[in-house]
Symmetry: C2
Subunit: 361 residues, 2 copies
């Protein structure tokens, strides 16, 4: 089954329900659907999504691994890329073929590291094996020549859009999304769209310096938010506190640096472990510095948080709110600045975010 837009041709169609559902002259309901593709360092998830944020069907494939020195072999990169595009296309077509609703696919949205929204490219992504500037949207459109829209951006920008289209930000026009996980991502929504910046890369607040000359970040810089408030960053804080306090009685002393995860810290905190509780407190304080900076820039309506560490609930949210209050200029605190947990289903958020790119046209 090819791109179904052609199916609708010739029908008398009128748009109902905010342009999400088409009713043909034969009164068969035709649903508009979006494809969301999330390209991660190890796995690529693909799903078909309706305008309410329901994932109708999904599949995944491994992302080609970065196992060689990419600068050494452009041919390997090209082959991996072509194979990847071909595999993605096959899955997308197979998913579409399985949908038994009358439907129209309105576009494909892609979330990927170092994605350039303006140009439709992925550029020198550190965790992907593709060399240089990859015209990802263009390559995919060769497989789907009739697809109306194909967009790409980084996963946190996509998450912000997901929150706007399907989640807690439906009625907002000025909000910030932070995604916490292996890294820290950010996406800023303002005046009707995500802010992509003049070069298409905007939304990388995980790499804001919060501690001058501090911890080494994955990007090579020092002292970045990501090195403190990602899940691995929380582990680093835990070890910093263990050695600073020489806390032999902490539950966290049981884990090697390799073993320890944010979940261990959470479990220890729930049991009242002082070091673990202090990790959450410090993480909130670090995060508060970054949030204050965002607030000073554009005083958003709300801040949304998404990702594994956020599952700790008030254990992390309260320290973040305290940190926000500590580091934000008092004039902004005349109002409550809501720090909200994303309403997106965590298991599907990456696909949802990517698919949201299509609805925001």
């Amino acid at each position: 089954m090819e791109v179904p837009r052609s199916l609708a041709a010739g029908n008398f169609a009128c748009d109902l329900f905010l342009n999400q559902v088409l009713i043909t002259s034969k009164t068969h309901i035709m649903v508009k659907l979006s494809i969301g593709i999330d390209i991660g360092g190890t796995n690529t998830a693909i799903g078909v999504v309706d305008h309410e944020g329901k994932v109708l069907i999904e599949d995944s494939l491994p992302t080609p691994p970065k196992k060689y020195n990419p600068a050494a072999d452009k041919q390997v990169s090209d082959d991996l890329l072509n194979g990847f595009i071909s595999d993605i296309s096959k899955i997308v077509k197979s998913l579409i073929a399985k949908i038994d609703l009358k439907h129209e696919i309105v576009g494909i949205g892609i979330g990927a590291p170092n994605a350039n929204y303006n140009k439709g490219t992925i550029e020198d992504a550190p965790n992907l094996p593709f060399i240089g500037k990859v015209p990802f949207c263009e390559l995919l459109s060769e497989e789907f020549p009739d697809m109306p829209n194909i967009f790409i951006t980084n996963d946190a920008n996509a998450a912000a859009l997901g929150e706007k289209i399907y989640g807690g930000a439906r009625d907002m026009d000025n909000f910030m999304m932070f995604t916490l996980g292996t890294g820290v991502g950010s996406g800023l929504y303002y005046k009707g769209n995500v802010v992509y910046g003049v070069d298409g890369f905007a939304g990388e607040c995980g790499h804001n310096t919060i501690i001058a000359d501090g911890r080494l970040c994955g990007c090579g810089g020092r002292g970045h938010l990501e090195a403190y408030c990602s899940a691995p960053g929380m582990k680093r804080t835990a070890f910093e506190l263990l050695l600073r306090e020489n806390a032999e009685d902490s539950l966290l002393t049981a884990y090697s640096y390799k073993e320890m995860t944010a979940k261990h810290i959470y479990d220890a905190a729930v049991q009242g472990d002082k070091i673990a509780l202090e990790v959450f407190k410090l993480t909130g304080d670090y995060f508060g510095m970054a949030l204050a900076t965002t607030i000073h820039h554009f005083s958003p309506e709300a801040i949304f948080l998404f990702g594994g560490p956020v599952a700790a609930g008030e254990l992390i949210i309260k320290p973040i709110k305290d940190g926000l209050k500590k580091h934000t200029m008092p004039i902004f605190l005349k109002r409550d600045i809501p720090v909200l947990v994303s309403e997106l289903d965590m298991g599907h958020a990456a696909i949802l975010g990517a698919s949201a790119l299509v609805w925001n046209v």
Copy 2:
């Protein structure tokens, strides 16, 4: 002479030259003019400005001093405020009366600390004697009942708008303005207007934390950009370096903490004084952290700098550019991010910025 809009009533007027000049049926040229009012801690400057940014006539008055405990006497605050509004109004009317061009005053723009653009208020400004939330635009409109537009914002937001209307940002739709002086202000221009935020206060990046738990800032917080990169911040850096290096041979050892100004540091740097040169280098590095944060948020087309320290030229601009490169994520450095000196005339910038609020309607 009252608000001249009424003069135009009944005339056949057509807008020419981007709506800046009216030609009446009698072909006498009628110029549209804006009033700019800059309220500083000690002085308030008022000017009449044409659309090209020419200040036709100007005057000033002392800002009422904050010499008492404002919380103690609301009546004193009200009296000072009413007197101030009345004095401003007299000067504005006298300036307008002196203009011998046929003109139409299209509005009054005001720059003031803690100004709320959305509400037209000044709220708890630390360096003004007015208690609480002052409805400044409303009070002024009682003196000018026919004035079409009266707006207020902080001086750095006004400067950003001045750069857009009269200066180097005329063709830009996404840029950041930083003002350096006694403090550090910021104004972000995006999608056709300054970003005021949901509460009307946005644009206070001088209070972003760049050194966690660092120097005390005038606002009561710690480690803020303003405590490092304002003119007094540079003095603090100079003394920090003098004691760190124990640099008995530095020209800067001649000044007391009270005496030393950014100009002394500049003069010493020009003579090759190592400590003074290091002050500029460190200031650039500190500033680079703040600029990187802005870039990660918005990836603006350019960054503009305005104010006394910027007069040092390459001595300050080069370290700032180096700092920007050091702290910005590499993906954004694929393009040159221009760090530009404001094109506004420094002597009139505050009036120009305030007056620009009126043209951006």
